[in-house]
């Protein structure tokens, strides 16, 4: 199938997935589909069932009930064929510390049946893209966390899979490593691979994903595009303001009916009437002879929606 020049080669279907650990339903009747070349986010608080869902869809765990189709192949009936189409960076997806980056990639390439030449060429391309070619023969134990994770992602991409699962791939990484990894994954996505990303970084999900699925207590709460989710909560507006000096938040308490949050040198005032709130802020400014450095009205972020849907901050 082609769509705007992108060859859609992937596609995932999960239908009625259930997984229990003892009496606890880690995944409870989860169904969704991801189209070819779609960037799909799986969000939820810790213990929501994201990692179990990914483990079920990558064939690491077997569901108690439900079906999974990867690129048109039934994962449960034909696990070898289906897994050949998957690239995965699991949550605990380390690489072998006693091997070099080249040896790790070579090993993974062998599992996917790549020829010696393919393994060599693809390893070279990936390590160059990930800025690791100069360190290709160093043992992984000598790498930093960010460098290890880059190799880990390269291992998931060496067979150019049509479906890519990334479970918290940029968690705890430096900015440079995060950007390099995201750029590479986006590149794979542009070439036509479907990507399922779980992350705690909601801004990252908002920036990358065409649709996000919010999951909590093993159940899907909603599936929608980040923008549509934000629009649904549009009434939750806020005004962000920063002054030239530090002020007491009590001064702003009369300005907005909602809660006031301090974000660094900014205050965020939640309101359903931004115009009125801005007028009151101006009055405070005049009365106390303050200078406004910046002021803007903001809609709900995906994070606000996420917190609302998953039961708020406890």
């Amino acid at each position: 199938m082609e769509d705007g020049g992108v060859i859609q080669i992937g596609g995932i279907e999960a239908a009625g997935l259930v997984k229990h650990f003892g009496d606890i339903a880690a995944v409870d009747d989860v169904s969704f589909s991801v189209g070819g070349a779609e960037f799909f986010g799986l969000l939820g608080p810790n213990g929501a069932g994201k990692t179990t869902t990914i483990r079920l869809m990558t064939g690491i765990l077997r569901p108690d009930a439900g079906n999974i189709t990867i690129d048109g192949i039934d994962l449960l009936a034909e696990p070898f064929d289906a897994k050949m189409r998957i690239g995965a960076v699991p949550e605990v997806g380390n690489i072998y510390a006693d091997l070099s980056a080249m040896e790790n990639l070579d090993l993974v390439g062998r599992y996917y049946g790549l020829s010696k030449e393919e393994r060599r060429l693809r390893s070279k391309t990936l390590l160059e893209t990930l800025s690791l070619w100069d360190r290709r023969d160093d043992l992984i134990r000598k790498y930093s966390k960010g460098m290890r994770q880059r190799v880990s992602v390269a291992c998931a991409l060496i067979h150019e899979p049509p479906v890519l699962f990334l479970d918290e791939p940029t968690e705890g990484l430096d900015v440079q490593s995060r950007r390099i990894i995201i750029d590479l994954v986006k590149q794979m996505n542009r070439k036509g691979s479907s990507v399922i990303l779980t992350t705690h970084n909601i801004e990252e999900a908002s920036r990358l994903c065409e649709r996000v699925c919010i999951i909590n207590h093993g159940k899907i709460i909603t599936i929608s595009s980040p923008e549509q989710l934000r629009m649904a909560y549009e009434k939750n507006l806020a005004v962000e303001v920063s002054f030239n000096g530090k002020i007491d938040r009590c001064l702003l308490e009369e300005c907005a009916p909602g809660k006031i949050e301090e974000w660094g040198d900014k205050f965020r005032l939640h309101t359903d009437d931004p115009d009125k709130t801005i007028q009151k802020i101006m009055e405070v400014r005049r009365e106390h002879n303050l200078r406004i450095v910046s002021i803007q009205t903001v809609g709900p972020s995906l994070e606000d929606v996420f917190v609302k849907l998953t039961g708020g901050i406890k």
Partner: protein, 248 residues
């Protein structure tokens, strides 16, 4: 297609294990040095017939080497965080376990072949049935590599716990299986225990192949080792399925 991928996953797993794990110190200490020291402790200062006890020593070294790395691979993989990733590759639990067993069997075969060669060359040990010796080598290595893998199946991610379990199972076996006391001299309850131990059939098979008195027919000996191999493999899969999440 499916069988081709399965076969490939076995071969790559075997290759991976050999490349990564056989250089590790615990494998050499528990697999090679320990049986040598045990044998020397038993042998030095006593007027024992070398030819009589060499098959038992050979069986013991094969037993220790073939079963030395199996108990450690899965805990090491879980501890390093590579186990989960491995399962996402085109492998199944069965092909992964077969790969681990083959790696153990190859290690056992190489080390015990060296021990056998040293015996033949320097101790003038005569081989009376080379084909049977080879068959017992193959069946014994597979059986005890499978035992090693079984020992890792119920464990989490702490290799030292597995080593404790491994020592608890492996050490008693060498004392009831005709290694230090010839099978003909074991009577009563000891004889029942001896015949329940797979190591007994290897010792007895090596006895018959190297010209020492044996008590069980070679066919039955090999059959028992093969059946034990299948039993250990089956139990490994059942336990691994049950404990898959342990230590992940």
């Amino acid at each position: 297609m499916r069988s081709k991928i399965a076969l490939r996953s076995i071969i790559v797993t075997t290759r991976k294990d050999i490349k990564i794990y056989y250089k590790k110190a615990p494998v050499w200490i528990f697999g090679l040095l320990l049986p040598v020291f045990l044998f020397l402790a038993f042998f030095i200062g006593r007027e024992l017939d070398t030819k009589q006890y060499f098959p038992g020593f050979l069986a013991m070294s094969l037993f220790f080497t073939a079963s030395s790395v199996g108990p450690l691979i899965i805990p090491w993989e879980k501890q390093a965080g590579t186990f989960e990733r491995l399962l996402s590759y085109p492998v199944s639990l069965s092909t992964m376990v077969i790969g681990d067993i083959l790696a153990g069997a190859i290690f056992g075969a190489v080390v015990s072949a060296i021990v056998a060669a040293v015996g033949v060359a320097f101790l003038a040990i005569g081989v009376t049935d080379a084909i049977m010796l080879f068959l017992f080598f193959a069946a014994g290595n597979l059986c005890f590599a499978a035992l090693g893998t079984l020992l890792s199946a119920s464990s989490g991610r702490v290799p030292s716990n597995t080593m404790m379990l491994s020592a608890l199972v492996r050490f008693p076996l060498i004392f009831i299986s005709g290694v230090f006391v010839p099978l003909g001299q074991i009577h009563g309850a000891g004889a029942y225990l001896a015949y329940a131990s797979p190591l007994t059939y290897l010792v007895d098979g090596f006895n018959s192949s190297l010209g020492v008195d044996s008590f069980v027919s070679a066919f039955i000996g090999i059959l028992v080792l093969v059946l034990y191999s299948l039993l250990f493999f089956g139990l490994t899969i059942v336990l691994l399925r049950r404990n898959l999440m342990k230590g992940l």
